[in-house]
Structures are given as structure tokens and as C-alpha cells.
Symmetry: C3
Subunit: 571 residues, 3 copies
Amino acid sequence: MDLTAMGDALNTSWILLGAALVFFMQAGFAMVETGFTRAKNAGNIIMKNLMDFSLGTPIFWIFGFGLMFGGTGALIGGIDLFTTGGEGGWATLIFQTVFCATSATIVSGAMAERTKFSAYCIYSMIISAFIYPVSGHWIWGGGWLAQLGFHDFAGSTAVHMVGGVAAFVGACILGPRIGKYDANGNARAIPGHSLTLGALGVFILWFCWFGFNGCSTVALTDGAAEVAARVFVTTNLAAAVATVTVMCITWVRYKKPDVSMTLNGSLAGLVAITAGCDVVTPVGAALIGIIAGFVVVFGIEFVDQKLKVDDPVGAVGVHGLCGATGTLLTGLFAYNLENDAGAPAGLLYGGGFHFFGIQILGVVSVIAWVAVTMTIVFLILKNTIGLRVSADEEMMGLDQPEHGLTSAYADFMPLPHVLGTKAGEAAAKAAMAPSAPAAPAEAVPVSRVTTEGASASMHKVVIITNQSKFERLKNALNQIGVTGMTVANVAGCGMQMGAPEYYRGAKVDATLLPKIKFEIVVSAIPVETVVETAKKVLYTGHIGDGKIFVYDVVDVVKVRTGETGFDALQD
Amino acid sequence: MDLTAMGDALNTSWILLGAALVFFMQAGFAMVETGFTRAKNAGNIIMKNLMDFSLGTPIFWIFGFGLMFGGTGALIGGIDLFTTGGEGGWATLIFQTVFCATSATIVSGAMAERTKFSAYCIYSMIISAFIYPVSGHWIWGGGWLAQLGFHDFAGSTAVHMVGGVAAFVGACILGPRIGKYDANGNARAIPGHSLTLGALGVFILWFCWFGFNGCSTVALTDGAAEVAARVFVTTNLAAAVATVTVMCITWVRYKKPDVSMTLNGSLAGLVAITAGCDVVTPVGAALIGIIAGFVVVFGIEFVDQKLKVDDPVGAVGVHGLCGATGTLLTGLFAYNLENDAGAPAGLLYGGGFHFFGIQILGVVSVIAWVAVTMTIVFLILKNTIGLRVSADEEMMGLDQPEHGLTSAYADFMPLPHVLGTKAGEAAAKAAMAPSAPAAPAEAVPVSRVTTEGASASMHKVVIITNQSKFERLKNALNQIGVTGMTVANVAGCGMQMGAPEYYRGAKVDATLLPKIKFEIVVSAIPVETVVETAKKVLYTGHIGDGKIFVYDVVDVVKVRTGETGFDALQD
Amino acid sequence: MDLTAMGDALNTSWILLGAALVFFMQAGFAMVETGFTRAKNAGNIIMKNLMDFSLGTPIFWIFGFGLMFGGTGALIGGIDLFTTGGEGGWATLIFQTVFCATSATIVSGAMAERTKFSAYCIYSMIISAFIYPVSGHWIWGGGWLAQLGFHDFAGSTAVHMVGGVAAFVGACILGPRIGKYDANGNARAIPGHSLTLGALGVFILWFCWFGFNGCSTVALTDGAAEVAARVFVTTNLAAAVATVTVMCITWVRYKKPDVSMTLNGSLAGLVAITAGCDVVTPVGAALIGIIAGFVVVFGIEFVDQKLKVDDPVGAVGVHGLCGATGTLLTGLFAYNLENDAGAPAGLLYGGGFHFFGIQILGVVSVIAWVAVTMTIVFLILKNTIGLRVSADEEMMGLDQPEHGLTSAYADFMPLPHVLGTKAGEAAAKAAMAPSAPAAPAEAVPVSRVTTEGASASMHKVVIITNQSKFERLKNALNQIGVTGMTVANVAGCGMQMGAPEYYRGAKVDATLLPKIKFEIVVSAIPVETVVETAKKVLYTGHIGDGKIFVYDVVDVVKVRTGETGFDALQD
């Protein structure tokens, strides 16, 4: 074996290490997206993350790779069906496959908790087959941007911004989750169900980013190892500094250092440094980290509160905005370091406006490409098979209606999620209106209640019903003046039977179902009113509508005022 | 340093990378097995996964390695106590150790939730010391299968099928978990407690499989890097295609894409491609993935529903059946690729039946070897220290009786697991029969109840007792006609004292214990009957038997029908 | 490219792989520390783990690296602000950065659940900037210990013991968590909220330790690859044997194999082998593992129960004691293996007392250095901005007061943590005393209660209040003789408004708040006494004090004795 062959083997090992690490980012994305959303959608989100990779792998092999690398045309590569990886061989194929999948998986976060699974599978395949490969060809496949000298080392634009722009378009067209904005259009927090898993995801991503950026030298020989080492330093430094920056910003703006936003800050720094990690100094990397920190906080707020685009995990801010930012900043901070003979020089280091202009041109072009094509894709899906689940399915969580999964956490009973009392956008209203058709019009007299004597003035009403009725019932009770109530998760054992659900092919017993239990104590409001209101809201005519129990109450004490009885129940 | 020494160093680094990745599969298995089973056994499952590796490492070093690689006999290697890794040196020792541990850890999944911890430790050591090394010697140590030309590149048979067959034998001899099959022998779903962690485990395994297969070239020089790159591609492609295949099958068969089965699909593809990943084309890999997808779905159904062997995580289907399948398919799909001078050719590529026949012979021989030896091992264990925990311990979950761990999730209260009302296999019956010996024979009159006047006709009975009584009490109440009840987890603060439990050496306070609370409202069924039934079922004479409370109910409304009072409580 | 350059590239790739793996230890530490502590602090612990790395990275780059490697003085290195990594270049910088961060992150575990976040950020920066670099210079930077021949290959002392000693000093100065020791000073268990995540963390750490130790050869050429392979073997073997040892010890001492202590055992073995992993034989490694197993069990017990220093995750035992033990044992077990020309020989292999004496000197010196400086740092912090949160904040969990995070698990309702009834240390007392200032002095008559007739003798009192009142109320009820109660988590929907909390910049709705619900049935104890006691304890005058409900009880049955009514309620 000669020295050249040895060098090739060494370089191949570096690419393969990178491929494995970039694959593992799928685990990171899955944990971040699941942890930052609600337990009732956990199975669905996992499934989406798994499927975008599993569908993207064969699709990219069959079509995408050829479009991206199968020729040197300005706009597209060529046709290389069932590729063998071209000149770069198998190592290049696997390396490029995992990058493609990263881009596709970003979209799922912004569209989480309301997108149809079938639509998801389709648009994810389109991204891997066509959208990503075309702009990828422009940048990395010898296309027109590459020819102009556009510099995007490991994919701030080619991977992250492509994903982020698609995510933005998708979230716009989908509309916000029910309950995300109140009647006045103010954004409301919908906290994630496991920040611990979300944080694990961020750590996994950071770890894998050493492969994403570091192994993008795709070589170790002839000075590339030195570049890779510097890339490790700049990548890590930008991430760390962005994290610190975001922590400080949230500490000032929200009075306390915000956990989940700071976790986004790490990702912001990583995304932003990706374009220029090979051509900036550590000082440049730190500055890029600081800027990314500002961009992600104000960007997420802007998208969430001004544009009113609901992006549950911050994918647009992190991947879209910081991807663009990082690419542009490369035009400012690129520095001719030793070992980088042909590297571009940024505006701040005397490189002139030319290189910076090309960076701007590249960002704008790719935004346009992705925005236009993905708008078409999403609109076609919306008007054919539909892009969004029904409001009822969304309220219930996608795990059950989309996958027949009662809960991703079978031994725990997740709480129906907290929404304010004035949730008012159209979708929610439609979903939560009392189901008019068949509610029994005549009030069934609740006769015993009024004959109870002394304690008749105070009753406890206990309502046990499906968790999906939570919002609707709470709102209806609020409207008749019930302002205090206690809610708990219980399991109801009844005789109910529904359509059989399968878990791994075995039928799921339907004898113990998650239910929600409301306890309300009323005095001024007649118990009949409460019972009738609950009946109207809960009635569908199907098994599982629930039961209402009425009990006597001997006394009530409001601790703060010391009031008892009737008085204790008034606000 | 000369070129050869440099090549050796490069190759060593590849083996070591592989060793680290294959070690990390332990984390993947731990998460998959824990996530797919119930919260009450989580500590036990973790412990088993930790201990099979920790016991296997020294055992394999002392005994197993020598048996496997310490000579070139047809049947066994030799004796090389406290090995230094033989010719391959330390890198070979660590690399082979982590493969051995993978095989051992597979068994724990199929036998989860009911196997004695002490028995587990013993049979796990026997697998690492003897069972795995012997068949491993046949295949990789120069034994008779190796001499015949049997091809199992990274261990579809040597590692996975060995684990899968042992798992099958163990699950057969153990018998199913209580409640897994109903009175008619129909399989019932027992959903896992965290599909999120299960999915994380699958992603970790997939990531590490790049090391398992890719680094099994155990070299990078002399063309090996090219092979490794192709192995990355085929491994990834088979996994992705198998995942897609399983998703489609479950979508058709169960009407919805099943999350946990699809996760098994990824592992099925990975196991199946392992034998031939170095000698198949990407198209071959994709076909193997498709076939593995079918095998795993129908295989798991067959084991679960026809053979009625209870394998909680699908280890038999994934590792046993797909391990065999992948090895056999190598005999069909092996293709003489460039760089693979001596590689075998499969039946479909003109290799003739000879090679395929050897693959069949190898699979059958290894099945026979493992099945016979493990049957002996399990039967000896069963008849000496016992293989299975008591039914009471199983109902309670193994964490408490086996490890003194109240819960692996101390701040949450997992729900006692859902079982149908007609659970009827012998073990469960025995476990759940009212404890006859000392139940007070005379009915204690519940005098106050019948003197309550107007509302006497409806009562709420609240029963607070140990979570382990859940099944038994629910069944008993069903038998007296109580069909509706509400169950919740509560924490009981009492004066109860039991045997002290230790957590990290500090005594666990016994003042707040997880309890279960039943709420039943009855009218037609006399409250005395409910109380007496509960007393009989719950009575043991020990502290902690629980309390029963009776309350008046003013009214009940059944929402679906609008019925109130007595009528609302009838089915 | 020549052979030397190729070798350099290969060596650089090994260092970079190590850097990535050691970075990933942050995920392991985060999971271990979070999993072993309570859900109410999960967000805070994550944040601390994230920030020590994110603050440490720029700090070490700017200051620390220079102090450690910027010169060859006996005591400190030099000044090398904004270093480029010196002679070792960028690869050395990133490699050393992640080691530094490991040391810093260890401290957070021992000080978990009660340390102020702001104080944490400050002392963590001081460790990275100054404490760690100085002793690191002594050992690895050419300082006086290095010159004497002190051997600490990958940092048993330089990294782990430095962290462990700082952890010990911090935990001492902080004092124990409220409820950790009872009135007699006996340690009580405070179980972690997710042993599954804790176990995942241990698996991640073990995986990454192959990088920590194995890649500390910082080369592969000239025989280094062989050493690295041996390091993999010794590291793995010590960890496995230590795990087995701890399992056996706990099985004997606590009657059952303890899950969380056994997990600590793995880490103990890893820490202990780190100093001598390159110079001991596998047999030596196994012996070191056995000794580490004993040290960690008895060490944790000693710290916890004798010294009464509260170290929630066992960081002092694992990193401090086993770090010291491993360094000292290197002085006994070091063996001149082939390929290790200049390696030291331990006392047991004829190396004489000289080398062992230097190991002792090094350990003692570093303990003294860290103990003195960190005592100063912690005392200054304690007396300026404060080191510990208030008792109220601690009871509530740090997530809410420190980060405005209602819960890291928004869809679940973690249980208020279990504390015994006699919790008595000063801090807890102060925190839990009835808030004297404004409690209404005159007893509000609970008039209705006494006029209820027949069933007046038994009442159910239901108290719904803030979770933070749990301890206080339980203790007060115990004092008036209420010994049985049932506690559940509920969500209260009220009109309460507090200071707005932000989650990712969006306001968190305050309409559904986690509450705790006590249910008490009394007969001998007058219901007025219960109500008055609860009022006194709960009263603050602010919204959210809670409500008390009184109900009639028809009957009660104590299952164990068959007693009913009044008798059933007596102990």
C-alpha cells in the first residue's frame, strides 16, 4: 500500500465518522422536538422523525443524489438513479444522505402537533428528492452559486436554512395550534412535556455537530486535519457564546434565565457558525455566536408574536434565521488563515463587498427557491389529502387518531394541556362549540337536589368525562360563572367499547381509559345550571360521554379571607 | 515509523472506534427494553442491562475469549485464561468483548418483567462464558463453519440470532406475563411506559450499528476503507427500507401506522443486513430490508399470537428471526463487488446452491446449539433457584421486591397497569384469588348505611388500598356487577411501617406511600355487598390493607341518555 | 504529503474524536444529575450543566489555557490570552477545553437542588479560569508535579478529584437539603425522579470514557495505538468489575442489589482507572475496580451518614474519593508493559516507594489547593450574593423561582416530594413555621358542621392548596393527631393572577395551576380543630391560600380489623 492509498483510507474514515455522527443528529432532533411539545403528540413526533430519515434515505439514493451531484450544470446536476456515489464513492453517498435527512427533519418541528402524518410523509419525500438537492447542487454540486464563490462550508444555508424556510412556509399555511393565540391575538406559552429530553437532544446535536462541521473537511491529509481542528474550536466556541448570550438576554428581558430558550441558543450558535466555521478566527466565531444569540431570541419572538406564526420548537428562528445570519456573517468575518490558501476574505478583513454580495445573493436565491416550491407543495397537499388534522384530533393529541396509540407514556396519565379561558380563534371555537345536533332539548329535572334541606345551598358537582372535552367544558363552566374548579386525571373502568386499537398487532383492552375529573362546589349558581351546562357540552350520544355526580357539602372555608359557606365561594 | 506501522495504527483506531460504538449499544438496548415495558419494572430492566455487560466483560476476558479464539479446532478454540487478545492484541479483545455483551443483552428483553434477577445474572454469565463463544468460534474463530465458507460478516447469526434463540427458549420456559393472554388465549397489548425513550434507544442502536457493521472490516488499509464505506451504505439502506416496509404493513393491517412496531422495523433491517452488509449491493440491501420488514411484523405476530410466547420487546422477532433471515438472504444476494476478490456469490448471482446451503447449515446448527444448551441452562435454573419471580412480585413490579426501589420515577405515580376484566390464566388466577386463610367469615354489618333515608339508595364507596391489589379488586367488583368505577393514584400518609427499604444506603421513609383509590357509585347493588367484597379481597391481616369509605350521593346524571339517579347507574 | 505529515493528521483525528466524546460527557452528567434528583429541580440542573460548559469554553480559551499550558513554571503556566492552542494547535485547545468543562460540571451534582443559579455561574467560571488550570499545570502543563514524575494519565486527580474536592467543600458550606436529615441527624433517602435517565447518563459517560482515557494518548503513531487499545481494555474492565463489586456489596448490606448505587459503581471504576489506565495490566485494572467499588459504597455512606454532608448524586464519593484512590493505586499497580519504555513501576512491581510517595504528594497537594481556594470562593459568594436559595424556594423546587419554569414536565404533575414527619433542621423549621404575622386570631366558627345530626361524628375534610405547603400542613396535622391522610395532585383552575411567568418569551397562562389535595376523615378529632389548624398553616393573606371543604361521611371500614365508623379511624 502506498502513501496515497493510505491517505485515502484515512480520509474515508473521517467521512464515515462524520456520517455516523450526522445520522445521530436524528436522535437529537427527535428528543428536542418531542421534549418541547406535548405528551399527547409524542408518538407522532417520534414517528415523523423516524420516517423522514427512512423515506429520505432511499429517495435520495434513487433520485436526489443525482440531481445534486450528477453533473455540473448551473441549475441542476443530472440523473444518476440508484447512485453509487459518483466519484466520491460510497462514503460520499452516505455522507450526503445524512445531510439531506437533517434538512428534511427540521421541518417537522415547526409543523408539530397538527400536521397530518400522511401529508408529512409526502412533503418530506419531496424535500429529499427535489427541493434540497437542487439548491444543494447550486452550493455544493458545482452549480451557479458554487461557481460564483458562494461559501457555505457545512450547510448553514444548504441544510439549515432550507429546512428553516420550508418550516416557515409550512407553519404559515398550517396556521397556529388551537389555543396558541388568545382572542386578542396574544401568543400564549404551550410548555413542552419534557425539558430534560429536550436538553438531552441539544447535547446530542452539539456532540454530532463536531461531525457535521468538523468532518465536512471530508479529508484529513494535506493540511485538512489542521482545518478540522480549527473547525472544532470555532464550532464549539460559537455555540458556547451564543448560549451565554441568550441566557443573558432572557435574564434581562424575562427577569429570569429561561431554560428552553437558552437551549435554543446553543443550536442557534451551531447553525450560524456552520457556514463559516472553516474560515473565521475564534474571535470571529465568538462574535457570530453573540449575534446568533440576539437573532434567535428576537427572531423567535418576532415570528411568534408579531408574525403570529406558530413554531412549537423554534425551528424557524434557529435554522432559518440563524442559517441566513451565519451565511451572511461569513461574508463579513471570513479571514485568510494559514493553511487556507484559497479561502475568501470577508468585508471586515479587507475582502471587499464582492464576496459579501455573493453571500447575500446566495441566501436570497435559496430562500426564494425553497419558499416558492414549498408553497406549491403545501398548497397542493392542503387542497388534496389535507395538511392538517381535524380540530378534534388536535385536541385529543395526534397519537391516538393518527397512530392508534392511547399514550406514549402508558403508565402515566399526562394532564390535558393548559389553555386559557378565552381561547378564541376560529378553529378552536368550531372545535369546542357544544355539539348541537342531538343534545336533548328538555332539561331533565335534577329533582333530588332541591329537596336536600339544610345543606342544599352548597353542592359538589363531580363530572367525569373524556380528556378531550377539557377545554370545552372549562370554557362553558366559566361562562355560567363557575370560576373555581379542581381537575384531576383518573382512569375510568367502564364497559365502553370503541373501534379496536392495535399496539404491535395485539388488541388494546378498552376497559381502563384515561378520563378527566372536574370537581366544582357551587352555592350561588344553581346546581341544575351546572349540570345542564355540562350535559349540553358533553353530549354526543355516544358511549363515553361521561357521568355527573352531585354531593352535599357541609361547609367550605376560604383560607385567605376566613369566609365560610356561601361567602367562601364568591370571588 | 514506516508505512506498515502507520497502517496498523490506522486500523487499530478503526477497531477502537467500533468498540466504543458497539459498547454504546448497551444504552440503546437499555432504553428500548425499558421504554417498551412498564414503569414498575424500569429499575430492574436497567439493572439487568448494566449487569450483563459488567458480568460479561470479566467473564469473557477470563474464559470466553479463549474458547472463541484460542485455537483453530473445529468445535472449540482453546484455553486462554485472562487473555491478552492473542494475535489481534488488546484492540481485538475489547472489540470482541462488546460484541459478546450485545448477544447477552438481547435475552433480557424477551424475558423482561418476570425473570428473577439472580437467575438472570447466572444465565447471562453462562452465555458470555460458553454459549456465545462456542458458536462464535465456529463462525469467526476458525471453526468448522468458517472452514466451510459460512459468511456472517458482523453477526446476524453469531451475535443476534444467538441472542434471539436464547431469548425464545427463555420466554417459552418462563411463560407469559400475568395478563398477557386472556381466558381465550388471545394476546393482549401491554403498552410500554415510554415510547420516547424506546425511540431514543432505536436511534442510538442505529447510530452504533455503523460501528457494529462498518468497523467489522477491522481495517481501513488495502481497500478495506472502501468496503467499510459500502457497509455504511448497505446498513443504512436496509434499515431505512425495513422501517418504511413495516410502517406500510402496519398501516394496512392495523389501519394506522404503528409507532412501536415501526421502531422494531428499523432494528429488523439492521439485524438482517448485518450478515451480508459487505457482500450485497445497495439494491440487495434494500430487498433484504423489505423482506426483514415482513419477517418482523408477521414473526412478532406469530410468536405473540400463535405460539403464545410472550416477548415484551419483540427480541425473538427482531434478533432471532431477522438474524436467521439475513444470514440466509446473504446466500441469495451476495454479489462479487469490486474490491472483494474472495467474496462469495449468492444463488441469485450465479453462485450456485453450495454457498446458500452452507448458510442454511450454519443457521440450523447454531439454532440447535443454542436451543439445546440454553434449554438445559434454563431448566436447571428453574428447578434450583427458580427462574421466575412470584406472581405477587410480578404484579407489584420487580423494582420493589427485587431491588428495594419504590419507583424508578419517585416524583411521579405510575398507574397500575391496565389489564382486562377477564384475565384468566392459571398464574394470574392463583395470584389474584382472595387470600382465603384468615378473612373474617362473619359479615361485619355496615349499619349506618341503611339508615340514611332519602339518599340511601345511592352511595359512593371509596376504597383506598395498595396498588398491587388493583387487578384483584377490579375483578371482584366486576363479578358482583359493578361495571363502572374510577381509579386514581394517590399518596397515602399513614403510620404504616414495613421492612426498611434502602436507597443508596439511606433508609427510605415509609410515611408517604403510593396507593390506589377506587370510587364506585352504586344503587341497585347494595353498598354492603360492595364493602364486603372489598374487605374479602383486600384482607391480609397486615398493616396497609386499606380503608373503605361510604358517602351519600345526591344525584347522578348519565350524560349520554340524560337518565338520572338509579337509572343512570344501570348499563 | 510525507509520512510524518500523515502521522500528524492521523494523530489529530484521534484527538478530535476524543474531544467530541469528552464533550458528550456533558450529556451524561446532565442525565445522571437530573435523574438522581427531583423533578421540581430538573430545569435548573439542566441549565447548570449547560452553562458550566458554555461559560467555561470562552473562559478557558481567554484565561485558563494560558495558565495551564502557557509556560513551564513550577506553579503556573503563563499568560496566553485568546490562545491558539500553543504548540499543540487547535486540536489541543479543544481537547483541553472539554476536559476542563468536565471538572467544572462535577461540582453541580453535589450542590444540586439548593444552590443559587447566579452563584453557580460565578464559581463555575472561577474553576475554569483559575482553580483547574493551576493544578492542571502542575500535573500536565510541565509544573512541579510533572517534573517530579507524578502520573495521572487522563485525570483521576487533575479532572475528577479537583471536581470532587470542590464539590465536597461546596456541599459542606451549603448545608444539606431540607429534609435530608431527620431530627436525630439520620440521613433519609430522597429518591431521584428518573433512574432511567440516570442510567442513560451512566451509559453515555462510560461510552465517552473511551474517548476520555483512550484518546488521551493524543497520538496513534509510534506505538500509541497499542497503548490506546490497552487503555480501552483496562478502562472497560475496571468499570465492569467495580459495577459487579458494588452490586455485591449492596446485595449483602441492603439485602437487595441497589440500582442507583450500582450505577455509581460504574462511574467509580471509570474514575479510579483514569490515572493509571495506560500503565496497569488488566489484572491491575480489575483490582482497581474492586477497590473502587468498596471506596464508593463506604465513601458515600460515610459522607452521607457520618460527615452528614448532603451530596445528592454521590459526586464526592465517585469523583473525589475514587479519583484520589485511583491515583494512589497507580503508585502500587503501575507495571512496565511492553511499548511503555519510560513508564513508572508501582510499589507492587518493584518500583519502590519513591513513585508511590510522589503519587501521595500529588493527591495531597491538589486536595489542599482546591480545598483552600474553593473555600475562599464559596465563603465570599455566601457572604455577598448568597450561595443558597431561600427555604421557600427550595421547597418549591428551583425551576420556578430561579427560571420561571412551572415544571420541566408540563404535562405531568410531579408529586411533592416525600419527607418524613419529623423533619427538623433549622432551615426547614423556619421555612415551615406557620406564617405568624397576619393570621386571623379569632377562630371563625365552622357552625354548620356541628348541626349535622347522625353523621356528625365523621367528616371528610378536603384541603386544596399550593404544593409548596405540603410539608408544613402534613406536619401540623400530625401534631393534632391526624395520622392518616390521602394526598393527590390536582390542577386548580381559579382566577388567580401572580407575577407573569415567561416561557420562551410568551406569557404563561395562570389559569390552571398545580395544587395538592389532602383528604382526611376524622371523628375523634373535632372537624373544627382540623379546619382551624389548616387555616393557620395555610394563611398568608395572598391569593392562592386555598380552600377547605367539609363533607359528611356515612361510614368507614378499616379492612385489616373489620372495625367500622369511629373505631376504624383510631390507630
